[in-house]
Symmetry: C3
Subunit: 171 residues, 3 copies
Amino acid sequence: MGKTILITGGARSGKSRLAEAQTLAFGRPATYIATAGIFDAEMADRIRQHQDGRGPDWALVEEQTDLARALRDTDGSGPRLVDCLTLWLSNLMLGDHDIPAATQAFLAELARQRDPVVIVTNEVGAGIVPENALARAFRDEAGRLNQRVAAVVDEVHMAVCGLPLKVKPHD
Amino acid sequence: MGKTILITGGARSGKSRLAEAQTLAFGRPATYIATAGIFDAEMADRIRQHQDGRGPDWALVEEQTDLARALRDTDGSGPRLVDCLTLWLSNLMLGDHDIPAATQAFLAELARQRDPVVIVTNEVGAGIVPENALARAFRDEAGRLNQRVAAVVDEVHMAVCGLPLKVKPHD
Amino acid sequence: MGKTILITGGARSGKSRLAEAQTLAFGRPATYIATAGIFDAEMADRIRQHQDGRGPDWALVEEQTDLARALRDTDGSGPRLVDCLTLWLSNLMLGDHDIPAATQAFLAELARQRDPVVIVTNEVGAGIVPENALARAFRDEAGRLNQRVAAVVDEVHMAVCGLPLKVKPHD
């Protein structure tokens, strides 16, 4: 069984950088499974910044909705980094996919992985209740998804100011 | 003196589920002190989902504003779960109650409890500053209330992705 | 070298109170370096509340943009408390300053301090993605700044309900 790690944190908490370091610690090259769609200029800019920061140690796989397949297709090739769960969820919601089914498929595939998987997610629930109903629904779904993934992975860390705070396992 | 525990966390961080488990660990049956008013369909739906998840181990007490009385009336009946402080505060603010007096009465009653009390609250201050002045005021009051309760309880845990992170006591 | 400590946390998480206690633990009197501009009545009110809570143990220095100079000018006078980085950043953005240059100057000066420096910052990235582009830009800049400061200080603590959670160094 490949080790599985979940890294959570707020925006710009340094979670992706921590996750990249953890992934490469399992071996090189690694595969970066990007869930981001390029929706607009701001997002495209972020992705470009992100890619410029990675070197030849990384292979890139773009998968906006079928994360189970992305895991299946890349198992056996070394460590994988999934970045990130909340963008994946957002893609599923915007595309009107069956979220429980997609989540179930992802978790089932995760349990079968022989190579390590590091997963990035976002803390989105620690602000004031959003006035927008869709934002509330997204926040709820993201929180539930985070809980389900955290329950099955080997380790959970929360990024705070770029530093990792261990949540699981307990000392 | 009954043990007192505060569980904080963002929306959908799993704090209520952790709090329910901690409450039942003190013995059964337990009393669920619900502060939620049923304001709208969304809230009613959440409460129903919540209640469906609880079984015969729980007695339900609904108290939207006088938490001191709810604690007093239920002491001697076993462990209590108060869910949650921020909805209580919201009820006090919407009903134009005397918040310092209500807080003082709650803390005084909490200090007198012989049976355990587990309290759920929300992290609402870790997002961007809200544009809405009422939301800012609520966020400030909630933060102050959380600090006052955390200062007097025996244990404080923060829920992260459904997992508890111990904040008090220090190891 | 003076010890350097970063205290982060959400709004009303008790971070300033924790930081004041940590600063005075290094000796008295201490210097409070306030970055807050008095933009409006609400802010003025907060500052007044804040100042009323401090006594003769504190000298006050107000510096809205040139934190490097404030550190340089006060080194040798005992411990300093910088409250807070996110207001400073907000002043820089509103005044259209060169943020990378100001950050670099601040970090360079911080590395030269002989007296202790305790720095307060804010977690602003754990809510839902703001709809406002300026708020998103601010959130990103604040997160990056927090990471850079956290990387160089001796200790990082996160305030949760008024209680400190140690993030750095690891046990």
